[in-house]
């Protein structure tokens, strides 16, 4: 048994990290740090009254309002409404888009047939459907959900199709010549191989869905973060608009950090299927 010299091919990990490195790796510092200068600048502009305070409020005012609206349950209620709509829309959208993407990705006939339709309907855009949806379903939750589903379906279906197409031919061949049947090759090789596409489709889809939700709430709204912001504008309450914007940003950030990023880390990054600059240097 001859052993290859493999020890020297292992990646070398530095035994100790410097203080600066540790500080930069700290979760709180990493996530909150970049925002500190912006908040400071914001506070400065408000304090110096560059703009009249009826148009521009400082972080302190917004923070107070945040506590107030959280206590009386308005913000939390609206937030729950928005998240529920997003959740429903995205879930249905993922299901429909996933099925569509699989069918189009796996069948050449379906692809030829569906491609012009995909391009055409994607071009119409989500909000453009709202007038018609409102006529059909009224100012209801159904209209909002329909818009989100519509938004999520296309990027997801397109990404899954691209993901399936990107599975190298040699991998399918390897699978077949190792004795896998068509169905086994599909479940064992093609579907996992398409995962980078699925993950990137989910990211784009969710992002689009999130924006569509706010837009739909502004137009259709009876509740939700989008509604809160637009309603505040109507009564001239700038603080709530500021607050709404921050809530949107924080929520997306949390969604990304808590769901999307770990999903990517545990799958495509762990398997080396996406090349990040550091990995590409290898």
């Amino acid at each position: 048994m001859s052993a290859p010299s493999v020890a020297d091919q292992r990646p070398v990990v530095a035994p100790t990290l410097g203080f600066r490195r540790r500080l930069l790796d700290n979760t709180v510092v990493r996530n909150v740090g970049p925002f500190m200068p912006i908040v400071l600048l914001w506070w400065l502009i408000a304090e110096l009254e560059v703009f009249p305070s009826a148009f521009f409020v400082g972080p302190d005012v917004v923070a107070v309002r945040l506590v107030e609206l959280s206590r009386n349950g308005i913000l939390t209620g609206y937030l729950a409404d928005s998240l529920y709509r997003l959740g429903t829309g995205v879930l249905v959208g993922l299901l429909v888009g996933g099925v569509f993407g699989l069918i189009i990705g796996l069948s050449r006939v379906a692809r030829r047939f569906a491609w012009p339709l995909l391009v055409f309907f994607q071009a119409i855009g989500d909000i453009a459907w709202l007038p018609l949806l409102i006529v059909w379903f009224g100012f209801s939750l159904l209209s909002v959900t329909a818009v989100i589903v519509y938004t999520v379906v296309f990027p997801l279906a397109l990404s899954i199709t691209a993901g399936i197409a990107s599975v190298p031919e040699d991998m399918r061949r390897a699978s077949a010549s190792l004795g896998a049947g068509r169905w086994q090759t599909l479940t064992e090789v093609v579907l996992p191989g398409a995962l980078p596409g699925v993950v990137s489709g989910m990211r784009t889809g969710l992002g689009y869905g999130w924006r569509a939700l706010i837009a739909a709430e502004i137009i259709v709204g009876t509740s939700g973060i989008g509604f809160m912001m637009f309603d505040a504008r109507r009564v001239g309450e700038v603080t709530d608009v500021f607050l709404g914007m921050i809530v949107l940003g924080v929520l997306w950030y949390a969604l990304d950090a808590l769901i999307l990023a770990p999903l990517e880390r545990e799958t495509v990054e762990r398997w080396g299927m996406v090349r990040r600059p550091a990995a590409a240097a290898k």
């Binding site: 061949r173 390897a174 010549s177 190792l178 799958t267």
Partner: protein, 275 residues
Amino acid sequence: MSSDATYQRAGRLEVRALEKRYDDERTGDSVLALERADFEVEGGEFVALLGPSGCGKTTILNIVAGFISQTAGEVLVDGQAISGPGADRGVVFQSFALFPWKTVRANVAFGPKMRGMDKQERRQLADEYLELVGLSGFEDKYPHELSGGMQQRVGVARVLANQPAVMLMDEPFASVDAQTRMTLQEELTRIWQERRPTIVFVTHDVEEAVFLADRIVVLAPHPGRVREIVEVPLTRPRVWDDILGNDRFKETVHHVLGLLKAPQVTEQPTVEAET
């Protein structure tokens, strides 16, 4: 090892009057990629298919693997005509074609899993073959964590663990560096001697073919055809240190190079002698 017996006499490959013609859809022309190739590989034999690009060596391999279909002729494995890819013909790819989402062990256990071997058993089998290729300790790594040479060891173990009648290798060491390539070549001859799988090894590297094979099917291009089948008069085990100074090695390399360079209807400048 219980598996040794399967390699003894089984694994005979016959290629009979094999022909491949490609049709160009735009011009309507058809190109003859391979013209009546005839050769046999005995069970447990190591045969190299050697030639410059355009000689049809990869076409032959792809037909034998069942990835593409021939225009005429037939391929028999142990007397049975092949149709489509199958577990009796395992393929080692130049691109490795490992499954990145599976660990090294799961990659090697893939074939046995497909035919329904239970988990404990195939795990054991995979570890046995990983030891054979010198990768013990790397079972739980993912392919991208290994060097190219190590990945191809996994590729070899994955095929051998599936115990095919014939192992087909398509320029398997072409994408690793020269040092690693020589190590892998020596390792392959060692493994072949231990297990005696039938190997069909596609390469354009004359010295590689002479070093590895019992016989070399030398192919000529445009159209691809068998030029000559050369016996390699070298004893085993073969180690580069001994082989490089060996006169019979040099003579065989010389002879094969001569075959590749011999005047043809159209002289091909693509043939290069690697040293």
